[in-house]
C-alpha cells in the first residue's frame, strides 16, 4: 500500500467489471441492463488507460479508451431509441415480457 501502482488500478477495474456483469445478468429493466453494460465498458477503458500510463511510450491505451467512450455514446443512443420504441408499443421495458416479439 506504499505506492499506488498498476495492480491497484487493475483491481478497481476488475471489481467494476464484476459488478457490471452482475447488473447485466440480474436486472429486468432494459435500461438497467444498459447501465450494467456501461459499467463493463468503463472498467475496460480504465484498464486500458492504466496500462497506457505504466508502460513506457504507449499512448495506444488512451486512444483505445477514447474509442470506447465514442462507441459507448453511439451504442447508448441506439439502445435507448430501441427502448423507447419498445415502451411505445408494449408499455413495458421488462425484458422477461418481451418474448411475444418472437412470434
Amino acid at each position: 500500500m506504499s505506492q499506488v501502482g498498476l495492480p491497484h488500478y487493475l483491481v478497481v477495474s476488475a471489481v467494476l467489471f464484476a459488478l457490471g456483469i452482475y447488473t447485466v445478468s440480474t436486472r429486468r429493466s432494459a435500461v438497467a441492463i444498459l447501465m450494467g453494460v456501461e459499467l463493463c465498458l468503463n472498467a475496460a477503458a480504465l484498464n486500458f488507460a492504466a496500462f497506457a500510463q505504466h508502460v513506457h511510450g504507449a499512448i495506444a491505451g488512451q486512444v483505445m479508451a477514447l474509442f470506447i467512450v465514442v462507441l459507448a455514446a453511439a451504442e447508448a443512443a441506439i439502445a435507448l431509441a430501441i427502448v423507447l420504441s419498445l415502451w411505445r408499443s408494449h408499455r413495458t421495458v421488462d425484458v422477461t415480457q418481451t418474448a411475444s416479439l418472437r412470434d
Binding site: 452482475y22 445478468s25 480504465l46 505504466h54 465514442v70 447508448a76 421495458v93
Partner: protein, 171 residues
Amino acid sequence: MPSPATIVFYALAALTIGCAALVAFSRNILYSALALLGTLSGVAGLYLHLGADFLGVTQLLIYVGGILVLVLFAVLLTTRIGDVQASNRSLGWSAALPLALALGAALVALAVRIDWPLTEVVAAPTTARLGDAFLREYLLPFELASLVLLMALVGAMVLARRAVKEPPRPQ
C-alpha cells in the same frame, strides 16, 4: 503517513466502487441511474489521477454530460406514472452472484499475481500525443468512428420517431 496521491486514489476508488455497487444492488432504478453518475465521475477522477488529462475531461463531457443524461431520460420516460417508486427487481441473483464473485476474484488474482513489466511513470500532458496518434497510426479507426457516429445518429432518429400520418388527399 501515506502520500496525498495515495489518499486521493483510495477516495476515488471508494467512490467508484461504492456507486457501482449501488447501481448493481439498488431496488430503485432512479437511484441506480444517479449512482451511475457517481461511478462515471469516479472513473473520470481516476483517469486524472493516472495523468490522462484529456481522457478524464472527455469522460466527464461525453459520458456524464451525454450518455448519463440519455440514460436518465430513458429512466424517466419509461416508468409508469402510477407507480410510487420506480422498481428495479432482480432476477436469478442466486446464480449470478457466484458467477460475478468468481469472475471478480479471478481478475483480481490475475492483477496482483502477475509481475507486470512496469516503467517509470512520466506525468506529461497527453493532448498533443493523442492528436498525433489519431492523425497518424489511428487515422482509419478515427474516420470509421465518425462514420459509426453518423450511422448511430440517423439510426436513433429513425427508431425513435413516431409514425408520420399521411394527410388526407383533397379530392
